[in-house]
């Protein structure tokens, strides 16, 4: 089951990622990205992380991508007519070298540890809401509190950037 989820969702997710990059229309691109994120939820399910799978669909494929689609449609310019088909020459090494390096690394990894699995199945309830909640409000409570400040700053920042400058309270 885990193998099926990995190959099925992993393959579709790579397809979704590639189509995101290759589509010229930003709306089509965003829908392919939603497709990729829903398949990422399947990958999380294969990794015994049911809570993350649910949050991936709710937060990523739901909230964040709706925000993207909303902005794309608001800007009314989803396709850039003059988007360059090919890169100028000096950028090509930057595009080509990292993939080559990663392929070499992956070949080495597969030769070293191609046979060992992910270890024994975790205990029942691993990665479930109760387990995550216990950690989030226990060992990682400081990170939990700090990330709320990050979100608050992001909200204030987005408001300050998006608002008409003459109406800001300190003007």
């Amino acid at each position: 089951m885990e193998g099926f989820l990995f190959w099925f969702c992993g393959g579709l997710m790579v397809l979704g990622g590639l189509m995101t990059v290759l589509q010229r229309n930003a709306v089509v691109s965003a829908v392919w990205l939603v497709f990729a994120f829903i398949n990422a939820a399947g990958i999380f399910a294969a990794l015994d992380a049911p809570f993350l799978a649910v949050m991936q669909v709710l937060v990523y494929a739901g909230a964040i991508m709706v925000l993207f689609l909303f902005v794309i449609m608001m800007l009314q310019e989803p396709t850039l007519a003059d988007e360059r088909r090919l890169l100028r020459l000096p950028l090509w090494p930057a595009v080509a070298l990292p993939p080559a390096a990663v392929i070499v690394l992956l070949a080495g990894w597969f030769r070293e540890s191609g046979t060992s699995g992910l270890g024994p199945a975790p205990a029942a309830g691993f990665g479930g809401p109760e387990h995550i909640a216990g950690l989030l409000l226990g060992r990682y409570v400081l990170a939990f509190e700090l990330i709320s400040i990050v979100l608050l700053v992001a909200i204030i920042g987005a408001l300050a950037v998006g608002k008409d400058e003459r109406k800001l309270p300190w003007k």
């Binding site: 885990e2 193998g3 990995f6 992993g10 997710m13 790579v14 990622g17 590639l18 995101t20 990059v21 965003a30 990205l33 990729a36 990422a40 990958i43 990794l47 015994d48 992380a49 809570f51 993350l52 937060v59 990523y60 964040i64 925000l67 993207f68 902005v71 608001m74 800007l75 310019e77 989803p78 003059d82 360059r84 595009v95 990292p98 993939p99 990663v102 992956l106 990894w109 191609g114 046979t115 060992s116 699995g117 270890g119 205990a123 691993f126 387990h131 995550i132 950690l135 989030l136 990170a143 990330i147 979100l151 700053v153 992001a154 909200i155 920042g157 987005a158 408001l159 950037v161 998006g162």
Partner: protein
Amino acid sequence: MEVTLTHYLALAGVLFLTGMTGFIVRRNALIMLMCIELMLCAVNIVFAAFSRLHGDAGGHIFVLMNFAVAAAEAAIGLAILVEIFRRRRTVNVDDLKALME
């Protein structure tokens, strides 16, 4: 063939590279932001895979933090883009080089 940690790392590597290549190649700032989201998602898969390997759900907490960071990044990035579009009427990064000149 059993699915190993390396398979998950390979999947995450391919996704990260897709996002990175897209970020370099595309000129549409909206699609560049989406490529960043794809890269963040690849990192999340690595976190979850190592979490499963060690049987410690601490990695899941990091993924949740990553969700919050991605949401904050999308909110601020899109707000800046909307403001840029309001002033310059374009989201093409080749046309946005006021700091370069």
